[in-house]
């Protein structure tokens, strides 16, 4: 790894000032995406700004939302997000135990890997992403592969998930990386259904046909996803992913809780 300056701010304003203090900077959360990228020299920042001293972790319920701090680790969401069992079980299926002991919600959402799990829950649960300077609705936040609404230097502080009547996440994991080849998050609210798909396309997206079919009480059986805009790579072709999305949708619907 190339060397860098390591900053350990005690406040959000200190963190953003250090981020902007010259050269390429990156925030360090759990480090389980950033450090591997730095080891392989995909990223070579001049400065890392460690977010661990800002008090950004914890889980609490406020009315109809479950708020989770950006620095909350996957293992703590798995054990602590009891108000939304589908979210807890999604977190329990990320990587392996040691990844879950370090990786954070905010790091995963800021990174927006097209095969990551959390983006499906953020979009499926109509979450709001709060930052040091703004509040983003999930529908506007994810903007395609590794791209989000975050401005340079903007810090996610916490994410508020709408608590659904029922929800479930089904994921077909890549056996080596454990990321989703396809993952489908289904949530039922009084106002309607939301279905979010990760792993299949260049970024997480809502599946309008599935939402409409579930809202119409037709169930998931006849719903199909067009392969046109889906990913094709050495792990799975677009047709395969399209079919898999249907299978994951039906699995999720069958396990709604």
């Amino acid at each position: 790894m190339h060397d860098f300056a390591l900053h350990r701010p005690r406040s959000l304003s200190e963190a953003t000032a250090q981020f902007a203090s010259g050269g390429e900077a990156a925030y360090l959360a759990g480090g389980h995406t950033l450090l591997p990228a730095m080891k392989s020299r995909l990223r070579m920042p001049d400065a890392l700004v460690d977010l661990s001293g800002l008090g950004l972790s914890g889980i609490h319920r406020e009315g109809d939302r479950l708020w989770i701090g950006a620095m909350t680790r996957h293992a703590d969401v798995a054990s602590g997000a009891t108000a939304i069992p589908a979210l807890a079980s999604l977190a329990a299926g990320i990587g392996d135990a040691q990844v879950r002991n370090r990786g954070t919600l905010g790091g995963s959402v800021a990174n927006n890997d097209p095969a990551a799990d959390y983006p499906a829950a953020v979009l499926g649960l109509d979450a709001v992403v709060e930052t040091d300077r703004a509040t983003h609705a999930a529908d506007d936040f994810f903007q395609g592969m590794f791209t989000t609404a975050l401005a340079d230097g903007e810090i996610i502080t916490r994410i508020g998930f709408a608590i659904p009547q029922a929800a479930a996440y089904a994921k077909f994991r890549h056996p080596a990386s454990r990321y989703a080849i396809v993952g489908v998050f289904v949530a039922r609210f009084a106002a309607g259904w939301r279905v979010a798909v990760t792993g299949a396309g260049p970024g997480v997206f809502r599946w309008a046909e599935a939402e409409a079919a579930l809202a119409a009480g037709q169930g998931a059986n006849g719903v199909t996803l067009a392969a046109d805009d889906l990913n094709s790579d050495i792990h799975a072709g677009a047709e395969y992913r399209a079919h898999l999305a249907g299978v994951m949708l039906r699995q999720a619907v069958a396990t709604l809780a």
């Binding site: 390591l6 480090g31 389980h32 450090l35 591997p36 990587g95 135990a97 040691q98 002991n101 370090r102």
Partner: protein, 158 residues
């Protein structure tokens, strides 16, 4: 930068670049070569150590991030004369061949006990070991070792 690490109950000062990984500080700066490096992609688990009792990949944590936490490495578990029950179980159950993955496997065993207690089933251990790769054993004896080691920890209150 100057980094102070508390390893197996003792403080160590390390003067190293900020980019130093915890596993590099342990192996290259402090000569604690029991913690292994098996991959460059954070996937194999040969580097597992405990931070405040919780298993982490030492290849994916900066040494500087481990300051202020109690680090436990394989060297800190038992002695040659009196192995930790989890180590002894790997020996008794033939839970290793070349031994390269073993320090990480023992630490993963302790992590499983931390989260699930000392009464384990082979199915649970097999599932929970997904962050550890072994090139030799085929895993069966590793699973047996962790089930037995956990039970032995109950008896010895280790």
């Amino acid at each position: 930068m100057q980094i102070t690490l508390s390893i197996n109950g003792q403080n160590h000062g390390v003067d190293a670049p900020a980019a130093t990984l915890l596993v590099e500080a342990l192996r290259d700066h402090l000569g604690l070569t029991g913690t292994h490096i098996g991959c460059d992609t954070s996937q194999c688990g040969a580097c597992h150590v405990l931070l405040d009792g919780v298993a982490v990949k030492a290849c994916t944590v900066l040494a500087a991030q481990a300051q202020g936490q109690a680090i436990t490495t394989i060297e800190g578990l038992g002695t040659q004369q009196a192995l930790h029950p989890m180590q002894q179980a790997f020996r008794d159950a033939h839970g290793l061949q070349c031994g390269f993955c073993t320090p990480g496997m023992v630490m993963a065993g302790l992590e499983i006990v931390r989260r699930h207690g000392t009464q384990l089933t082979p199915e649970l251990v097999a599932h929970e070991l997904e962050g550890n790769l072994c090139r030799c054993t085929g895993y069966m004896n590793i699973i047996k070792a962790i089930v037995a080691g956990a039970a032995a920890m109950e008896q010895s209150h280790a």
